[in-house]
Amino acid sequence: MSFSTPAAFLWALLAVPLVIFYILKIRMRRIPVSTVMFWEQVFDEKQPRSIWQQLRHLLSLLLQLLFLMLLVSAVTDPFLENDIRQQRQFVVVVDTSASMQALSESGDTRLASAKSQIEQMIQSLKLRDEMALIVAGGRPRVVCGLTSHQRTLQNRLAEITPTDGPTGVIDAVEIGRRLLGSRKNGQVVVVTDGCFGAAAELAASDQIVWSNVGTSSSNVGITRYQVRRSLLDPIAYQILIEVGNFSDGAIECGLDLSLNGDLLDVIPLKLAAGEIWTDVIEKTSVAGGVISADVQWEDDLAADNTASSILPARRKIPVTLVTDGNWFLQRVLEANDVVDLTLVSEVPQHLPPDGVLVLHRNTPQQLPAGNVFVVQPIAATKLWEVAGAISQPLVDKQDTSSDLMRHIRLDNVLMPEALKLIPKVDYTTLVESISGDPLYLQIPHANGNVLVLPVNLDQGDLPLRTAFPIMLTNALAWFAGGNGELIEAMAAGDTRILSVPPHLQKAAEQHDGQLKLTAPDDSHQNIRVIDGHCMIGPLDQAGIWNLSEPVGDDQAAAVDSTAAHTPSLQIACNLTDLSESDLRVPETIEPRRQILNAGFGGRPIWFYLVIAAFLLTMIEWLLFQRRWIS
């Protein structure tokens, strides 16, 4: 046996004053009495115990010395060498994925059962054993490093909350293995419901201890959900929805669709056992908002019964077209329901706010401030020089990452002629010819941007292609700051790089490049904006997230009163995960819970010494009360 703090044995010197005080104590009270003859009669009856009575004073001293020795020994924190050799390390991977929110027959969630199991594991840890906790909901995260302090582990365990994300058990197990390194007695313990793809293989591994929670249960859930604006109809939108029946029997239920809480449609569903139903539903609305889908079916997992997506509102864009006449261009703009078109013959000096000026075969030396779309320029301006014409230009490169080029392919478009431009300022090439000349470019401009399409529309088939109206729609949406475009709903646990709308970029610039991302439960975090983009995720809650200007609490009231703050960007997040919605536990998994058999002995020796001292105190008190000792 060894001692952590052998210097604490010095406390044993307290025995010296203890003995001194004891010697002083045994000088008894002297009481004069009339006669002792009656007391002699009382005590002479118990004469055989006189030896014990003499010894009991010594016993009292011995009990006190033993009490002191027990406490001193406890302070020295003794431990066995065997404890060091048999020290074990456990890395407990806690599945906090969405399926762990499923209710069991007892009314508890699977995660609650898992935490209860882990609590038992913590209590069964022996003195030198160590344990770490890793949560595996979406992106795995170590919530508590290896420690033998049970209270810390219990506190961290209590802080674990469920997520709406997918399972990250496999990655978490890998992290756990790295955490254990080369430790001989290390084990990775997985506490999960087994509702993920590789569960059976992982459970069969000898290198981990598998602990199952929950039992198989039926569920119906939305596994895919997206809303987008129609590419052809500016006010139309499409809803992609997929609903799965993860039970062993057929079900009939309704699917409610609503926009901002107003019911749009109720779709009756009749799903066979295991059937996955998929459909694309078209609706029209200029207004935007949150489009929600609700499966009207009560099951053990509520998180996948609802899905949401953001439909951007369509706002009229004041477009001023300066042209000497191009039927295709004019009709494309007129056909766009979000365009408020004005035809003029002279270039206006000023543009309306958020307006777009479209110049066709009309290029003044000085472009007006604002957003300008120049189609088929004919002369040089302050932004570019004209270096002749390009005959039969072939498209070589397209910037597919740009929102301006979304859903556009120009490599098979016949363009007999284009103007060769040499920009005088920094620019971004969106479409480039084989010769390296820009065929579609973006140039930053005062209070806006300039898009230049130096292609002759009168020749070639570009106006006849679907790419042409899409190109104009993208351009108008881009000028409007993404207004009216698709904001794709994210799946819980996903990470995505978002293009930040210009108004939020400006807001971020005023706050050290940061924006506030608010979760559905009103918790928030700061997001850094870099080059007009920001990375969000992994999102661990299903619902509507808000990306907004980071306004402090003290400023919020003032901002609300002025109602002039920057509009936020809403991001929808849904569970939409087949594995998480399927609550049926694979039958091939056999639960193993060896760690729960760690048994008695999870306390240090000093703990038992203190208990013994406490019991000794009780015994001494009892003996004292009965006058067996003094």
Binding site: I26, R30, I31, S34, V36
Partner: protein, 291 residues
């Protein structure tokens, strides 16, 4: 505070008056002694034995029954009252000390006796007779007697009733009423001494004094008891169980005193120090009157 103050004397006089009114003929000189002698009041007969005075033969009975019987007459004489006061150190214990009450009772009884023209003597004793107030008569002697009592100290050695009785019967050959005022804490036992008095035909009355701490001791734990009479020490550890046993032993002692007196026709009064002397004396008179 003086033992016999004006209040004491006032109450004493009151006690004397009450005793004469209520208990006339039942106390002291008013009572016939049980001595057989040459009085004029017939008492009973007994068998004639050779040597008896022929003058007391009942010839009428001899004539009728042909049996020699001797007439006996109750002798009338002055009653001798002996007050035997325990002055051992055990009498000094208690609050107030037993000795104070015992002296007050002694004075009261002596006053009543003197008032009835009886002869009174006081013997202070411990392991023997320490001091004595000789036989005296007349109410006027009460002050001298009180001075004698006030001069006594409870500093004698251990009570020895046998030694007391032996010395007493030698010093007081004239039989009479012997009142023993003591706690009776005689290591050798109180019976031998009382037996001697009884055998010498003294009409004995025992007054046992004790105080509440002797009946219900409060001590617990380790204590060293000191016997105030012998000076002996005894180290004991007192538990509740021991206290219960002690109470039982002490009660047995008091019962033994009562039973002894009852068995041999002795007067007996057992009292603690919480009562006043006049109540105690009245109680004694009532008890004597009911016999």
């Amino acid at each position: 505070m003086p033992l016999f103050d004006n209040d004491f004397l006032t109450r004493l006089e009151y006690l004397s008056i009450v005793s004469r009114k209520v208990f006339r003929g039942q106390l002291m000189a008013q009572r016939r002694t049980k001595q057989m002698g040459g009085g004029i009041e017939f008492a009973d007969h007994r068998q004639y034995t050779p040597g008896d005075d022929f003058r007391y033969l009942d010839w009428n009975l001899y004539a009728r029954h042909d049996e020699l019987l001797l007439k006996r007459f109750q002798e009338e004489e002055d009653l001798h009252v002996y007050l035997l006061l325990d002055c051992s150190r055990s009498m000094s214990t208690g609050k107030p000390p037993k000795f104070d009450l015992a002296r007050q009772v002694t004075a009261a009884l002596a006053y009543i006796a003197l008032a009835d023209l009886d002869r009174v003597s006081v013997y202070a004793f411990a392991d023997g007779v320490l001091n004595h107030f000789p036989l005296t008569r007349g109410k006027a002697r009460i002050l001298s007697l009180m001075q004698f009592l006030e001069s006594l100290q409870a500093d004698g050695d251990a009570t020895n009733m046998t030694q007391l009785a032996g010395e007493f019967v030698i010093r007081a050959p004239r039989r009479g009423l012997a009142l023993v005022l003591s706690d009776l804490y005689d290591p050798g036992g109180f019976r031998n001494g009382l037996d001697v008095l009884r055998h010498h035909k003294y009409e004995t009355h025992v007054v046992q004094f004790h105080h509440s701490a002797e009946v219900e001791p409060k001590m617990l734990g380790d204590v060293e008891l000191q016997d105030v009479e012998t000076g002996d020490f005894r180290k004991i550890t007192v538990t509740e169980k021991h206290l219960a046993n002690y109470r039982q032993v002490f009660q047995t002692f008091l019962t033994s005193v009562t039973e002894y007196c009852s068995a041999y026709g002795l007067g007996c009064t057992i009292t603690d120090t919480d009562v006043t002397f006049d109540k105690l004396v009245l109680g004694m008179m009532r008890a004597a009157g009911t016999k």
